[in-house]
Symmetry: C2
Subunit: 199 residues, 2 copies
Amino acid sequence: MKKSKVETAETKRRIIAMASQEFQRNGIHATGLADVMAAAGLTHGGFYRHFQSKDQLVAEACAARLETFAEAMEAAGSKKGGLGDLRAIIERYLTMDERDGRTDGCPLAGLGSELARADPDTRSTASAGFMRLIDAVAARIRRRSSKVARSDAMFALVAMIGAVTMSRVVTDPKVARSILEETEDHILRACGPAAKSTD
Amino acid sequence: MKKSKVETAETKRRIIAMASQEFQRNGIHATGLADVMAAAGLTHGGFYRHFQSKDQLVAEACAARLETFAEAMEAAGSKKGGLGDLRAIIERYLTMDERDGRTDGCPLAGLGSELARADPDTRSTASAGFMRLIDAVAARIRRRSSKVARSDAMFALVAMIGAVTMSRVVTDPKVARSILEETEDHILRACGPAAKSTD
DNA sequence: TGTACATCAGTGAACGCGCGTTCACTGATGTAC
DNA sequence: TGTACATCAGTGAACGCGCGTTCACTGATGTAC
């Protein structure tokens, strides 16, 4: 039962989408290829018509999710017009919906320590996504130089990634919420329009 | 070959120490019990004389490493006398040695996304360790109220955890170093003695 | 203090299971004539 | 346009492997007398 090129591409896209969802929910190591293929409505045997290895799927799923997530961030930050709103981006990231997996979450927070041990391809992909997110955030920070804005954006991102991760580690939802809220306050104070700065 | 109580306790301590090391290096999922037992100089069969399950080992190893790491932080922050030095604590955390596993690393950064999916016991243990680290950092931050100091300390910690995690994801060591250095600058600016604050 | 016995830390083989990967096969599709 | 054939996406069984866990066994220890 050969499929048309369009169908084949659509199937591959669906496998990647399901993989990215399962990895985000259960982690990379804990997600089996059979789980992913079943979620895509296929049997596991067909996997190798589309990918050379699980590692390749991990890299492509990571890239796809970073793409989706970066678009969501850029959209959230552009709603209010002008240079865009830093607060809107941060509020989209630091929510209980993000913590509890009710949004298309950030793979850097969801898979951070697993990505740190992933193969070079996946880490390169994740690095590129990180840089793109930095640019998206930096575009909403007004500073004398773009270098300073990028530095502030990088800091805001690592703080958000750490905050979402720790909000998930912590068992008490109230503590989780306060981690997210306090982080938001601190980032806005450090990087918002009125922040003191070295520029 | 029954062992004395002292020997048994020492063996268990050694298993936990080796486990904490292997988990930190390779991740929880990727570390097998046989690896841990071999590192402790034992065969895998004896594992269940000391633990009920791998989950229990994970919880105890996490607790042990957090204890060690918190002590190292407290010691680093106390060297220079007085209330202690925030900068010394941050400098101990945000180093390439920490990134590359040449120190007794922080399990919150090393295992973050895996801990977020761990069983409740392990997450409770990790939460308690996180709170202890917050206290250690807060003790080096001068603010009008201890509540504000704790809030600043929490923020400094999530930023450091995110920074170390991302410094490991990123493939280029120069980028990794700059993430660590810029994060240090930003935290000192946000939480250091001269920081503007809401208190 | 000396003897007999119960305890139990540690060994190493074995358990069932799920993993990533391979493969012979099927049959609808795209292609060549 | 119609026919014959090569392609290849997807199936489902099978592969070797390592996992967490169990278990019968060993033998040095602690304990009871």
